[in-house]
């Protein structure tokens, strides 16, 4: 019981201020988005409607946690920028480190950049932004 109380206190301390909460949430949000996009691209090189739904749900929940609309928008921009960078790196890295014969060695990296951008932009980016805004509004009302 005491241990649970201590853990709860630590979590409360970790999330005590809005800045601390953002410092925790942005990496979590980025990892969740990257993992969701990556698991789909690793398997099919494309996203299913379920994957897009999952991404929208992540943004919605993140919006609820942030609550503040301005902070949510800034966090969202940071998250998407880092997610895009991480995805391109994760997908391209194995292609660049394997000794592929030409021209595949050059084309795979370009292919993944295009795949990532067509997967994220523009509709999913806008949809996720809307989900974040709605989440922030819901959070403001109920939390």
């Amino acid at each position: 019981m005491e241990e649970a109380r201590t853990t709860a206190t630590r979590i409360n301390q970790l999330l005590a201020t809005e800045n601390r909460r953002s410092a925790v949430l942005i990496p979590l949000w980025t990892l969740a988005m990257t993992a969701t996009f990556a698991q789909a691209l690793f398997q099919r090189a494309s996203m299913s409607y379920f994957d897009y739904g999952l991404v929208a749900a992540i943004c919605f929940v993140a919006g609820i946690i942030v609550i503040d609309l301005g902070r949510a928008l800034l966090s969202y921009i940071a998250t998407m920028a880092i997610t895009t960078f991480l995805l391109i790196t994760l997908l391209s890295y194995p292609a660049t480190t394997t000794n592929l014969p030409s021209p595949g060695n050059l084309l795979f990296s370009s292919l993944w950049i295009i795949v990532v951008f067509t997967t994220i932009f523009p509709l999913p980016l806008i949809a996720c932004l809307v989900a974040t805004v709605i989440g922030a509004m819901v959070g403001e009302k109920y939390f």
Partner: protein, 200 residues
Amino acid sequence: MLPIKTSKRNLLTIGFAAFTLAMLIVAAFGAVNYNRFYPAITQIQTRILTLQTISLNNIIEVKVAFAVKNPTDYQGLSLSHFGSTYSVVYVMSPTNNITALGGNLAYPSMTGALNPGTTFNVALATFNITANPTQMTSQTPTMIVFNFQPSFILSTFLNKVSEVIPSYDCTSSGDPAVCDQTGLTLITSSVGGGPGGGGG
């Protein structure tokens, strides 16, 4: 345990962290398989299974069969649209070779899974070549060497965005031979003006 002094918002953050962890585990499994993809496509082996020549007067009938093998443990590859070009080198003497460009070998449309460790045998192709490239002198070649450049479409998880086409180079004068991978071409489909193919 935790809800003792934890707000709904903090609980939601904890739940979000747990979900993130779950998604990371799912993505990690995908990443492991994805990391095996590139070594797999470079290690796909193509070889000349049989190369038979039958002399018919001034014509030689050539029968060639190829085999494609996935020696890796990567699952999810299959083969389609096997094709090959060939050329013939007539070795007339140690210092005199005559090269004849052959053209394309006709293959029926075929598809087959390249499961780990399994070999896919490509249908036999037959073509004719002249037995004597120098009709005027009637000098017969001491050896005939065949060069094949097979390639095929490798169906992968990338099918929605790109076709992967490995190409090989095989040289044989009649014996089974292992082909060298010479190139890897990508042909993009639905990702717009993406990177196009190119010869290896």
